[in-house]
């Protein structure tokens, strides 16, 4: 553990990372996640999904957005834009958008279906 931390530190000393770019990228991903999560809530509520089906819909739709981000925003090279691509791009802020999703999901279920 200690050796790998030392290695990582050495790696960062050789190839430094720009903090302002990391911040900018995280901000962009978080904004996209929040916007699309609200949209998926509209779709889930209008389709009349209930219980687990709604959450599965959200996970699938988030996966689609992740693929779009991977293909269009990072040009297939997530390592150049994220320090930890798995955590920051593929799973980044997926659960942060969940509250927005549930909000619009219940709202549109109530407005349209009930």
């Amino acid at each position: 553990m200690a050796a790998s931390a030392l290695n990582e530190e050495r790696q960062l000393a050789i190839n430094p990372i720009v903090a302002s770019s990391v911040q900018h990228n995280t901000q962009v991903i978080s904004n996209i996640r929040n916007l699309t999560a609200s949209l998926f809530g509209v779709a889930a509520g209008t389709l009349g999904l209930e219980s687990y089906a709604g959450f599965i819909f959200y996970i699938l739709a988030s996966l689609v957005v992740s693929v779009l981000l991977f293909a269009l925003k990072t040009d297939g090279k997530p390592g150049a834009y994220f320090y930890r691509p798995l955590g920051d791009l593929w799973l980044g802020d997926v659960f942060g958008g969940l509250s927005g999703f549930v909000l619009t999901w219940t709202l549109f279920y109530g407005l349209v279906r009930a």
Partner: protein
């Protein structure tokens, strides 16, 4: 790219509004019957269009590796990003943070860009020659 993203977002929003309105009408007329396939498909297509439009129209990411980031800066230089302040001034992208060192003076020109490596004795000699010539060019 901005026009493309806006067009996708507009088309998606129109389809989404139509699909939600159709669902509302359908459930108001035939309650407790499943949603017709065309409305579901319209809804899913509109969601796909909108998320594509959102991803496309957002600001591009910046490289986090220092070398790539600095390379992009020196290749593109400072340029407007198409956004304006309320006073009408164009907002510029971030520039080279080490421009104040004046290194660029030594790359294209014949002088030494770094101030600490300035040839003091050479400059002094130049000045003395100039004085000896009577201060003429």
């Amino acid at each position: 790219m901005a026009v493309f993203g806006t067009a996708l977002n507009g088309a998606g929003a129109v389809l989404l509004t139509h699909a939600v309105y159709s669902t509302h009408e359908h459930t108001a007329t035939f309650a407790s019957t499943p949603l017709p396939l065309d409305i579901s498909l319209e809804l899913l297509v509109s969601i796909l269009l909108l998320s594509l439009g959102i991803v496309v129209s957002f600001a591009p990411l910046k490289p986090i590796q220092y070398a790539q980031w600095a390379g992009q800066l020196s290749r593109e230089g400072r340029h407007g990003e198409g956004q304006y302040t309320r006073e009408g001034e164009e907002m510029l992208s971030e520039g080279d943070p080490y421009a104040f060192l004046g290194l660029d003076g030594g790359i294209g020109g014949k002088g030494e860009g770094r101030r600490g490596f300035w040839d003091v004795k050479g400059k002094r000699r130049e000045y003395e020659d100039w004085v000896r010539q009577g201060g003429k060019q």
